[in-house]
């Protein structure tokens, strides 16, 4: 009977029910996306930070190039100098990066090479550069009057994808420059001591982690913004639910009075209204979860360039919050329902 009472009562007020479900859905969607972004992207960002081989970038102190990068500090476990320059390929300006690519790959373990690392007269374009130039492994590429074979395609998920990688010797030959634009340095131990050491040697030093940390700061800000939006959307959903419930109680005061006259206790009456609110909470929560996942995916891709994964705990939390919002919103209407005097029924008011 309880189920019949609740479902039939909701069915006769289905338009209003739908509006409330949509309101809860919007709130739940914000909560889902907030939780997914918070848990998933933070976790992935942490993993990415840990996977960074290099944690310092060394730049020339004076002049444009580091002629001979020479650093022998106990905490430095590896270094790779890079020579960056631009050259025209098929009438398009492309950035080249020359380096010891075996060493560079070790230092950047997330590099994914489809094919082989280049040797001698070979090049390794990043995936974006390859797409731009219509290149695939095995193709030939002309730079100036020289031809190079594409040994493979590099996918890093970073701005390196826009570059063409070549050996340091080839880079020096093509650019006519000698030395390195920068050096990536991998430090294990006291990073500040290494920075001091390198600065004393006349280099400029930047922490790579600062870049990642600025992304973390962006994540923190995005989270704060989403938390605020979630709060306001949930408040609005709660208000909408409150309006639906209070209108329902006012419209049904005769019905409530009758139920009380027939012996319905306050607990049972509260349970009926809580169940009605619960249906709105659960339905809105489930729908909101799926909408929220889409939103999280969009935010993940657009802002952090990362795909988010589905987390079951987010579903449970979203559902719990939606039900909680529904329960809180129905407290006053339930109090009002309980206060209805069954005498009104006999008075015919």
């Amino acid at each position: 009977m309880f189920t019949r009472l609740v479902t039939k009562s909701l069915w006769v007020r289905r338009e209003r029910l739908l509006i409330s479900i949509i309101a809860v859905m919007l709130g739940a969607a914000m909560v889902t996306s907030l939780l997914t972004i918070s848990l998933d992207i933070r976790e992935k960002m942490g993993k990415e930070l840990r996977s960074y081989g290099a944690n310092l970038v060394v730049l020339p102190g004076e002049g444009e190039y580091i002629n001979q990068f020479n650093a022998t500090h106990n905490s430095i476990i590896g270094s790779v100098p890079f020579l960056y320059f631009k050259a025209e390929v098929n009438a398009k300006k492309i950035e080249f990066a020359g380096a010891n690519l075996e060493a560079a790959r070790k230092m950047n373990p997330w590099w994914h090479v489809e094919g082989l690392l280049p040797k001698g007269e070979e090049v390794l374009p990043g995936i974006n550069a390859a797409n731009k130039l219509g290149l695939k492994a095995g193709d030939m590429l002309s730079i100036g009057d020289k031809s190079f074979k594409v040994s493979g395609i590099l996918d890093t998920g970073t701005s390196d994808d826009n570059r063409i990688f070549i050996s340091m010797e080839t880079a020096e030959q093509i650019s006519g420059k000698s030395g390195a634009t920068l050096a990536q340095v991998s430090v294990l131990g006291d990073i500040d001591d290494v920075i001091k050491y390198l600065e004393n040697k006349g280099y400029k030093v930047k922490k790579i982690r600062q870049v990642a940390e600025s992304e973390k700061a962006l994540l923190d800000k995005t989270q704060l913004l989403m938390a605020l939006v979630s709060f306001f959307v949930l408040s609005a959903a709660s208000l909408s639910l409150f309006c639906t419930m209070i209108t329902s109680v006012l419209e049904r005061s005769r019905e409530i009075g009758l139920m009380k006259a027939l012996g319905c206790g306050n607990g049972r009456l509260a349970a009926i209204f809580l169940a009605e609110a619960g249906v709105m909470g659960v339905a809105g929560g489930i729908l909101g979860y799926f909408v929220g996942l889409l939103l999280a995916q969009f935010i993940g891709m657009e802002i952090f360039d990362m795909q988010v994964s589905i987390k079951p705990e987010v579903f449970l939390l979203t559902l719990l919050i939606s039900i909680l919002v529904a329960a809180i919103a129905s407290l006053l209407p339930i109090k009002r329902a309980i206060s209805i005097d069954p005498v009104v029924i006999l008075r015919g008011e």
Binding site: F2, K8, S9, A261, L262, G263, C264, L346
Partner: protein, 213 residues
């Protein structure tokens, strides 16, 4: 058995019931009669534990109901009293059968078979799954009587039960009350109708809140 002693009910400064004292024996049919605004419904509300008096004593089935709190009054009502209203009062989105079963649900557990039998008993076996809006006034009142009887209450309280019915339906409803009376139930009816007054065992006449009995 219902024993009222010096019952007073005041609403702010208005005294709806003044020192009402009367006795209704078990199995008796008592009609509460009097002009509009005389306090008939107030008295019925007090007997039905829908309201509590300002002062006085009211023993219903041996229980001093004036001492009961709101929760106890609700429990007492669902276990001892069957209510029939002038305006029928059915839950509009429930069928006739469900409107009867709801009283079972509030009392203990619902029993569809028993609810159907109760409706058949009042001549509504062919309208079990009709919504209130699909029933005539007489049919709705018969559903309400079935609902009032479903938990086997000792006392049936009815407020103008035939007030909104035509002659034919009035007779049908009164027949049901006669049958209940013959089964030994205590019946208290608030009515303007002198014909009903003649049927009962006792008339409690009320005027300006004063019982003349």
């Amino acid at each position: 058995m219902i024993i009222a002693k010096n019952l007073v009910k005041k609403y702010d400064t208005t005294c709806a019931l003044k020192d009402a004292s009367f006795t209704i024996e078990k199995g008796e049919w008592a009609n509460i009669m009097g002009p509009s605004g005389s306090g008939k419904t107030t008295l019925l509300n007090l007997i039905g534990c829908l309201d509590s008096p300002t002062s006085g004593s009211l023993l219903v089935n041996g229980i001093e109901t004036t001492k009961l709190g709101q929760k106890e009054r609700t429990r007492f009502r669902r276990e001892n009293i069957g209510l029939v209203f002038q305006q029928f009062h059915m839950i509009p989105h429930l069928t006739a059968l469900e409107n009867v079963m709801i009283a079972q649900y509030f009392h203990s557990i619902e029993d569809e078979k028993e609810a159907k039998e109760a409706l058949v008993h009042v001549g509504m076996g062919h309208r079990l799954h009709h919504m209130p809006s699909q029933l005539s006034g007489g049919e709705q009142q018969r559903v309400c009587i079935a609902r009032a009887l479903i938990n086997q209450p000792q006392i049936i309280l009815a407020d103008e039960p035939t007030g909104n019915l035509d002659k034919k339906n009035e007779e049908a409803v009164l027949d049901i009350f006669r049958e209940l009376h013959s089964e030994g139930r205590t019946i208290v009816i608030v009515t303007h109708n002198p014909e009903i007054g003649e049927i009962g065992d006792k008339i409690i006449q009320i005027s300006h809140g004063e019982v003349k009995y």
